[in-house]
């Protein structure tokens, strides 16, 4: 490191690794109840992580949740953008993930035909 500019460059590169420990922007929440896992939630999770890595979306948080009582619509995947409604997608397959991330997570356009629930932001 030879200058302050070098420090800044390094910091910008390393910063994203720690974002998870601070409040973040968009959240993707995957249903990991028993039937969720049986319906392929782990595979959906893997597809989400791959897609986020591919697009370098390091500040998107991925969380899991347990059973929410819509077991017949598994796999369930929620997208929650700051200040917007929480959208629940149902019957999500790994191949749907890139569509949801591209349209909704990145551009804010809800993929209407897959929505099974909506919770308004209070």
């Amino acid at each position: 490191m030879k200058s302050l500019a070098d420090l800044h460059a390094l910091r910008d590169k390393l910063k994203s690794d720690l974002k998870l420990r601070k409040e973040s922007g968009t959240k993707i929440i995957i249903g990991m109840g028993t039937c969720g896992i049986a319906a392929g939630a782990r595979e959906v999770m893997a597809a989400v992580l791959d897609e986020l890595a591919r697009r370098h979306l390091t500040d998107v948080q991925v969380q899991q949740t347990g059973c929410i009582g819509m077991c017949d619509k598994e796999v369930l995947l929620d997208v929650l953008r700051p200040g917007e409604a929480r959208i629940t997608y149902g019957n999500v397959k790994p191949e749907d993930v890139s569509k949801i991330i591209a349209n909704h997570v990145v551009n804010g356009n809800i993929v209407e035909d897959m929505v099974v629930g909506k919770i308004e932001n209070k």
Binding site: M1, K2, L7, R11, L20, L49, D50, L57, V62, Q64
Partner: protein, 596 residues
């Protein structure tokens, strides 16, 4: 690159390590692999979170879930339930002591809510053995800014304006101290970081060094630039092996990255840091004794002046500050003096880290803005007194400090109010005492410590503290005499006025402050041979009350046949025979025997 979706922070501070956090960490590594999560979950070892009592601590992000007292056997459940299925393991959450409520999140716990973390901001949040994490949260920015955008004068001026005062006990204005060292003309100057931390019960400096060592290195380098020194020493006690190890790693990584060494940030400024391990005598924390010790001489204080800023280590101008003092510097340079001086009171700026111990529910490290009241620290952060007992006193400032009573609980905690109240900030140890504590005994405890740590160089301290201790001992043994209080007071004033160093000058403080607020307790001991708190063993008497059913059990238990009485008649204890073993009271099926 894999998207990391969760971080598992396992506390690797000294306390959590000794309660088994290494095994917890190993178990995480094993189970993350077993559940094939090792690429999407990152495992990090951090420094102390200050809540050691509840350790080993594990925090899981992004949720910020705070798990307490985690053992290796709990790890499988956390991995399977939380990390795999997203279900919080409720049985491991923290419970508020007063309400028994479970609190899932770090920042909602009462202990942390009222804290304001500047010095401890990164402790427990980053991996102290990875300079990258420190840089990622803004580390070394302040050094870069100072070296490339500020003159040494501007740095000194900024620290002066911030109002920062020394956290090692004396509270001397830090900027002014730097100005003196800067003004000394010499071909060689030194910066010393005092990490001797000798106060019994204090561990804030250790936690900073273990949890965020680069912050201290950065503060020292900025100081070096400001005063014109190119070499620094950290004097750290050998009993802190983990702190020493992390410092060595940190220095090596900083050198590797070009953040210490030659021509830092291309500015032409050179700075290197050495570690000197101290043998751990309390007096070696005194600055002149400390420098003698670095020079390889016996750690004994010498008279000042000359002050270190003029003639310090090897006779060269030297600036010496405490760990916590240096740990404040980077933030002041980054955010400006004005920002810093918004925290605290008129004359005591910023925050202070306290080590809470004693009869308090939440023991641990708490960083609070100066000027907060003692009541807030003890009740809101500390969670109140254990076992629902009554508060009696709080001892602040370690062996040089004093005891404050209930009536002082609303005192704002800052350097000057504490001195006016007969205590002192010291290094920030807070020992909370309940109604069962005898204040004469407390004074004796602290004086025993200072007496045994006196280096013996000057008579008032060496002999005077011995005399005072003899008097305190006889008072607690029921042998106190008329005039003892006055004798204590005159000895105390004498020692304070004539001792050579701070150890002797402050040694009488615990006695004087307890005399000031709890004089009646001394008088009870001396006049009525009674310890009101029921703590001084030699003064207790065991008495059989009216609940006695005459079962004869105590008479049979008594090893010296001090108890007499007929069957089904109330028994009595012959006080002249009783040796106060307590066997009768422990065995009475009707709880008829009391001591007092």
């Amino acid at each position: 690159m894999q998207h990391i979706r969760a971080h598992v922070l396992v506390c690797g501070g000294t306390a959590c390590k000794s309660s088994g956090s290494q095994k917890v960490r190993d178990a995480f590594a094993r189970y993350l692999e077993e559940y094939k999560l090792q690429d999407e979950v990152m495992l990090v070892e951090t420094g102390c979170h200050g809540f050691c009592e509840h350790g080993p601590l594990v925090i899981v992000y992004p949720e910020g879930t705070f798990y307490c007292r985690v053992t290796a056997d709990d790890v499988k459940e956390i991995v399977e339930q939380h990390l795999y299925k997203g279900r919080i393991v409720e049985r491991l959450l923290y419970r508020e002591p007063l309400t028994q409520e479970q609190v899932p999140n770090y920042d909602e716990i009462g202990f942390y809510k009222k804290q304001h973390r500047i010095v401890l901001a990164n402790c427990g949040e980053i991996d102290p053995e990875n300079v990258g994490e420190y840089i990622a949260v803004g580390g070394y920015e302040a050094l870069g800014k100072a070296l490339t955008q500020m003159s040494p004068e501007q740095v000194v001026e900024e620290v002066k304006k911030s109002g920062l005062r020394g956290r090692g006990g004396g509270g001397f204005p830090t900027g002014l101290k730097w100005q003196f060292a800067k003004a000394s003309v010499s071909d060689k100057k030194y910066v010393i970081c005092n990490a001797d931390e000798g106060d019994p019960g204090a561990f804030m400096d250790r936690s900073v060094l273990e949890g965020d060592p680069h912050r201290v290195l950065e503060g020292m380098a900025i100081c070096g630039y400001a005063i014109g020194a190119d070499e620094g020493y950290i004097y750290v006690r050998a009993e802190y092996p983990l702190a020493i190890k992390r410092l060595r790693v940190a220095i090596a990584q900083a050198e590797e990255a070009g953040l210490l060494g030659k021509n830092i940030f291309g500015s032409g400024f050179d700075f290197t840091i050495h570690i000197k391990e101290g043998a751990g005598a309390f007096v070696c924390g005194e600055e002149t004794a400390l420098m003698a010790s670095i020079e390889g001489k016996r750690g004994m204080p010498r008279p000042r002046p000359p002050f270190p800023a003029v003639s310090g280590l090897w006779g060269k101008p030297t600036n010496i500050n405490n760990v916590e003092t240096f740990a404040n510097v980077a933030q002041i340079i980054n955010n400006g003096a004005e920002w810093y001086s918004r925290f605290g009171t008129e004359k005591s700026k910023g925050t202070k880290v306290f080590a809470l111990t004693g009869k308090i529910n939440n023991t641990g490290l708490a960083e609070v803005p100066m000027g907060i009241t003692m009541r807030e620290i003890i009740y809101d952060i500390g969670g109140g007194i254990t076992n629902g007992k009554k508060f009696k006193a709080v001892q602040i400032g370690g062996p040089s400090g004093g005891c404050l009573p209930e009536s002082m609980l609303d005192l704002p905690v800052d350097y000057d109010s504490l001195i006016a109240a007969g205590a002192m900030m010291g290094s920030g140890g807070l020992v909370v005492m309940d109604e069962d504590t005898c204040m004469v005994d407390v004074a004796k405890f602290f004086l025993t410590f200072t007496q045994s740590e006196s280096c013996g160089k000057c008579t008032p301290c060496r002999e005077g503290t011995k005399r005072m201790l003899e008097i305190l001992t006889r008072i607690t043994e029921g042998e106190g005499r008329e005039g003892d209080i006055e004798l204590l007071e005159s000895l105390a004033e004498n020692i304070k006025a004539t001792a050579l160093c701070g150890l002797g000058q402050s040694a009488p403080n615990p006695v004087l402050s307890t005399l000031r607020y709890f004089r009646h307790e001394y008088e009870e001991h001396i006049k009525n041979k009674r310890c009101p708190a029921g703590a001084c063993e030699k003064m207790l008497s065991y008495v059989i009350g009216d609940d006695c059913k005459g079962c004869t059990k105590c008479a049979r238990n008594c090893p010296v046949q001090a108890i007499s009485g007929a069957v089904k008649q109330k028994h009595v204890i012959d006080q002249s025979k009783c040796i106060k073993c307590g066997a009768c009271m422990a065995g009475c099926p009707f709880k008829a025997i009391t001591k007092g």
